[in-house]
Symmetry: C3
């Protein structure tokens, strides 16, 4: 590891059965030795709490720990994540092992950070339908609503006559003949996420007293919205995530077959960067990549080989987007177990695989340019564009999609990608972020615009662009009382009479070119609001009033790019022209550094000033190529 | 409402929890006020019994009311239709609330009709796998067969050695390793439908004594065959249905993607009319539309906006097909609850949506032409063509499809549409209808031709056209003893040696053009039967003997149209020529009125006599246009 | 039957409820009569034990016999195969009926063979999740591993910390949040297969003492790998299988839509022959077809009519591949029951269907040429090519597919078909077969190459061709310790760094033409190994060292054919040239007979020597045609 240029190693995140081989009897000898060995070689350690892998004996002794699925069946031990977040017995066992671990290693000089659990919610484990979960849900509702009358009001139980007499009458929002009440489903989702927050906080509180100065983090996942990462991260020092560009491209539901084939070996040009920018925001500006894909994975339906150079390019891309650390998954491909086909830096026989060679290359490059790559020169700055991503709004879209292909990350990624194709850097921020510093603020799919966000939008001087549906829902997942688009009133007065979702084979032409796909709000501009573009049957597609823009329609990629570029110009930004970036080429600033990554099939020309002196790479970037250069700080 | 020209309002169909907030304690004050308010404004009321929405307290007190799904799990309260039809406790609760309601409002002068429950079977709720249902099923079998020997004989339990010793050995026909016995499945389907009949009858019998002169109805659904509507309607005065042209076009399993895209904003030209003609027959000639789509719905995967004019056109279409009343769903889009995205006549803020404007336009047109639109001039007459649709036959096709795309409405709608494209009006009738008055009788998919139907076919002078499979099954879902096609013997002697189902990518050319798709009976003509058309490998595709026609093969739409037109000519009818009607244009007679509706993408020319004086619309109909004119009654 | 030329009849395989109408009371009168009737007509009888159809009374008395599905629900009686293989109560009942039957009919002169049960595993019935099965699984593991430490080692429970304390901690490998440990899943699959072996052996041991000289067989299924047929057949005298060419073509998961349409009425040219060659190997060289498709079946999504001539052609094809007997399913189409749409030789009315006429034609042909068709002239010889098919390897591929379209029969059939298109006869053999006599040995997908197989490959002089993944797994489904391809070391030294699976839309060109699809091993040749063909990005696709070939990549059909033909030439064989056989034409030798079958859409020319005197058919074969000629034995 040392020879390869690695400096930090994450360990122990599934080793509970080794730490506590039988209930209350701990064995730390092997872990002492492992940490000492690593420390002795000059390597630092990120220590993972092992709660993602409860030992088999724990489930045998406390079967009520097992999560219950939506059909009422207990999930079995024998893989991982076989615990329910609401289980008191699991909380007790967690307290025991984490406390013991923290006491022993918290202040160990080689242990430089703590990872809590591993990939919360993986394998659909956010939700548990156990009696303990139901009791906790009822308690949570009591806390939220105070009285059952308030709950009835918020949920709208009048509809279909489903009033509740007491909190004890609340059941799970699954297994009804028809859909459950939307707010019932939303509160269940909120509760489930809050249970993760509570579980995570318990661990953090056990670790912190014993681990002074060590950041506590969690490794979040890509394409995942079952849990509000912003809320979990309130208790963390930074956010890490596990970056699998090829796997995510293969499984992202909004990716077309054509995109999956085109980017099979490089990953989609924006899917990875999107998550870097998301989790940098989640992590209060601090981003780690805890698991970086180093070769083919095992968990997608098909698992491509990264194009030569991509492990290096992904690493540089992470740095470009502000990562402080990139840790590869995994050191060596293990010859057995569920992930035996998941490659690592090294082959099962210990010989280096392509990933190892490319990781070592990055380490050499960083080492070579160490004098230039100073903390100061790399200090991440606020991007010119804020893209607001709100997990509860994603839950709302999932519960009330209205168009079968609308929910999830699709809209957010489409807006993000359109900005990025025009060379704009983006901060992805939560709904309670201070927006004052952003010239351009984009809300692709914030269905519920709460009071705080609304006030911040009003008081900033930013150009604001809202996608379809934005502001249409109340906190209780009802229509906003001011008719669907109230959030932007009075700045952008309009009335949304209704909506139309368009099936995949349908599109509505826009006057002047381009087309509507998937969705349109059916709006009437009111007062000072102007219509910039209309659908060919007259419905407004793009509305504006001063610095406020509303996209009533989901439009094709080129049109979206043009609309966002226009807003960027209005905000005083200098977006690139259409097609100025070769397809697959992306730029990113960090401090006074500039980076370019080429995922395209051919050589791409980097649009840097003529006088640029490239520190890494050059003006002509081959597929998988990376360029970096330094600019004077303005 | 009054200003809009509405005259009748349906209310209360989900309001049980408001009528009976706690067990046996009724609160009628709010409903008194609602009815009085409506009556005071000169509006009449259709009152719905609220049994589709059992209150939560009822399920808490009597958990055995909850329906049990096929896997043995109880469905939960919290949406609607969470009751099993066989539950004694639910029958008791139903009796209590319906009786109280009927006593209070039965003779109220403003209450002009009663709707029983709401959309029986919606959300897959026809079948319940509870102990009570199993006991009732066994009892029902006792009643049907008398002895278990008779049951063994009918079911053919000899096959695979599954003889039953007693009725107590009967189990549900689900969860077997392989398919259950076909007649076991069929009897379970019959029983489930009969349980709905029994439940409905109970309600009707409670209402009638207190509601003199008020018709009792149920609002049936489109594309739905889990329940025998003909049987349910034996206890009703008329049939209503809930007409959602766009939703039905989006979800009909027999609709191609191309058709879904083409008719996304108008609805398929024949799918709505098909149901009007079906439920007019179910309702003994009396048809109401209880819920007319007034804008985008919320329940299809994608939910299109009706083309401007369609709410008006659908309303006129309903009248053209004999509707006495068209009621829109719903007055106002509710801002909360499961259907918050289901539009209504009015927007959530109470302002009129497009549907309201178009509904008002119809009301003005009707009012303007009131002198002409007399009951006498509108009296629905027997159509020239009867299309026989038999629910038990649809169950048989579903249980023994033999070709994966054969069961359900597809064949019936294809035959119906072919007739309609040639301008022929159709009555869709049950298997026990008197057919003597029909020049042309079409049986697209009546797998079991019972003795009554067979006798009526024999004694009528009608030209008879049978589709593939017709008459092939006994009442016990075995082969008809006279070899598959016995029903038509001796009029059309033939022998069916077997059948072939054709996968979607396969077709067999017909001699002379056109092709076989999906299915062919492999027939030998016997005796006097002639072969009109053969497949290119020689199998008869169309057989005839005098006034009897059998289609052995499912053929492409143009060919089917030609074959049916030939039969119509033989019957003395005057079908239009192929393509005489523009695609999307349909005609319909009611009394001495003629109507034309255009769903096509362009202007369509109405093929009315040159001298026609159009009362509504004109000869050139734009998309969404309606024309009406009066003719001398012959 | 006699008139049709039939000589053997299979009966009784589902007649338990008739044999033992109530517990322990047998009724043999009807079966005595049936056998005597057949015997009286000169027909011989294959008697089936009826255990595939437990009587309803048996399940009522012993509910624990019902199989439990993976979700924990009991399957119901009322179809067939409603028993778990591990149920002691079912073993007891089986012993009672089979013993009684064997004692009564074992030595009956007309009973010439015994069929045990019927289609083991049909309808997904191999696996049962009952308490009895779990107890037996734990016992089986005790037997396999001796100690739980050995089990932990083999399964790799260290991964994700899932060590087991005792055999009592073992649970089913289903219902975990993530995948279970691969070796856990593999052992469960091995156990389930072994339970079938144990159940089958029990029956065989009951039959043999009473049935001297009568072969005992089972009728296996096509496209089925849940059970190790080689292991079951260790206790049998020969293997029978149930051959449904059209059904198998419709449902084979590796068949493209294009292939399904093209071969809808003939069956894919290689799918049936593949199974003949497989089960001839399973049956120690003795092959029967117990059920031959005689017309449309009822169980595929679509059920085509065989092309005229195919029932005859399939029969001759079976003989060509070594079948001693072809029995048709079924004598007459039954008018009721689950299979009422499954045709037979005769129509439901007893009149002969096409199948009967064609079966009779074969009987006449055989009778006509009886003098030539001697046992000696027909004695099956060892084919020039052995294709090794190993059920445990198929289980491994299913458990760890890595590419979603890789597991199952697809690869084996592709290799088989490529050999057959070049006119080569193939023996499909198990992994423990003596390979010394085969000039060419092909291992398309033997993931685990055990010591016996490896030794036999080393000691034979055969040319050996291995497909991708071959030899990559240990017996515990871990990477082979010698780096994935160790099985072939030291003959063909190479190192597999990793693998890539290719999604359906992706392909990698090969240098020199053709392309990689689905899969490639990423290899480095070592030492003496040469690279014959490379992918266009340089990875070796085909490696060779002397008589050893490894295909690192799954390639297109034409390329695979060329690669195999090259190996065949090296082995001294004379494969036909590419496209020398018309598409759909296949050849097969048996003894000194040569057969040709044409499934193509047009007339095909048989590539026999000019001087050939055809005994059946001729040089020009129409669609569905069969030719046979005799050659001098060399």
């Amino acid at each position: 590891m040392k020879a390869m240029g690695l400096s930090v190693v994450r360990i122990a995140e599934f080793a509970w059965s080794r730490m506590e081989p039988t209930e209350c009897h701990f064995d730390w000898a092997w872990l002492d030795e492992a940490i000492d060995t690593l420390a002795g070689a000059g390597l630092r350690v990120v220590l993972g709490t092992p709660t993602a892998a409860p030992p088999t004996w724990l489930l045998m002794a406390h079967p009520e720990i097992a999560p219950i699925d939506a059909t009422g069946r207990a999930k079995r031990a024998g893989s991982r994540r076989h615990y329910g977040f609401s289980s008191p017995a699991f909380h007790a066992a967690t307290r025991r092992v984490v406390d013991a671990m923290a006491r022993r290693y918290g202040a160990h000089p080689a242990v430089v950070a703590w990872q809590v659990d591993n990939e919360y919610g993986c394998h659909d484990t956010t939700f548990c339908y156990s009696p303990a979960a139901l009791a906790a849900f009822r308690q949570w509702l009591r806390g939220r609503y105070g009285s059952v009358d308030a709950l009835n009001e918020a949920w709208g139980t009048t509809f279909w006559g489903q009033q509740l007499d007491s909190f004890e009458s609340v059941d799970f929002p699954v297994g009804q003949p028809a859909d459950p009440l939307p707010c019932h489903a939303l509160d269940w989702q909120r509760f489930a996420s809050d249970e993760v927050v509570r579980f995570n906080r318990m661990q953090v509180q056990l670790i912190r007293p014993h681990a002074p100065g060590r950041p506590v983090l969690h490794n979040f996942m890509g394409l995942f919205a079952d849990i509000d990462s912003h809320a979990v991260a309130q208790d963390l020092d930074l956010a890490a995530w596990d970056s699998y560009p090829l796997g995510h491209t293969e499984v992202a539901p909004f990716m077309s077959e054509d995109e999956r084939n085109r980017w099979a070996r490089t990953g989609h040009p924006d899917i990875t960067a999107f998550h870097h920018d998301l989790y940098r925001g989640v992590g209060h500006g601090r981003l780690w990549v805890m698991e970086q894909q180093a070769g083919p994975v095992n968990w997608a339906p098909w698992n491509a080989l990264p194009l030569p150079g991509m492990v290096r390019a992904w690493t540089w891309e992470a740095f470009a987007h502000g990562a402080e650390l990139v840790s590869y998954f995994r050191w060596r491909q293990l010859p057995y177990g569920q992930e035996q086909m998941h490659s690592g830096l090294n082959c099962p026989d210990g010989e280096p695989d392509v990933g190892a060679l490319e990781a070592a290359e990055v380490a050499r490059e960083v080492s070579r340019e160490a004098a230039r790559l100073t903390s100061a020169s790399l200090k991440t700055r606020t991007a010119p564009v804020a893209l607001v991503l709100d997990f509860p709004s994603m839950w709302m879209a999932r519960i009330q999609p209205q168009g079968a292909d609308m929910p999830g990350f699709g809209t957010a990624v489409a807006y993000y990608a359109a900005l990025r194709r025009r060379g704009l850097d983006v901060d992805i921020v939560g709904a309670d972020t201070d927006l004052a510093l952003y010239p351009l603020v984009v809300l692709p799919a914030v269905l519920h615009v709460g009071d705080v966000l609304q006030e911040r939008l009003q008081h900033a001087a930013s150009v604001v662009v809202c996608g379809p549906r934005v502001g249409s829902k109340s906190a209780s997942l009802a229509h906003d009382e001011r008719l669907l688009r109230g959030a932007m009133a009075p700045a952008l007065p309009m009335r949304v009479r209704g909506v139309e979702s368009l099936r995949p084979g349908r599109a509505v032409p826009l006057q002047g070119g381009g087309q509507v796909q998937q969705w349109r709000d059916l709006c009437e501009p009111l007062g000072v609001t102007e219509v910039r573009v209309r659908d060919d049957d007259g419905w407004p597609a793009w509305l504006q009033q001063g610095r406020w823009h509303a996209h009533a329609s989901r439009v094709d990629d080129d049109t979206l790019e043009a609309w966002l570029a226009a807003a960027a110009h209005q905000a005083g930004l200098m977006p690139l022209a259409a097609h100025e970036l070769a397809p697959g080429l992306r730029l990113r600033c960090r401090g006074d550094w500039r980076f370019a990554i080429n995922r395209g099939p051919g050589t791409a020309r980097v649009p840097a000033p003529e006088s640029t002196r490239f520190v890494i790479g050059g003006r002509e970037l081959p597929p998988g190529g990376v360029a970096a250069w330094q600019v004077r700080t303005p």
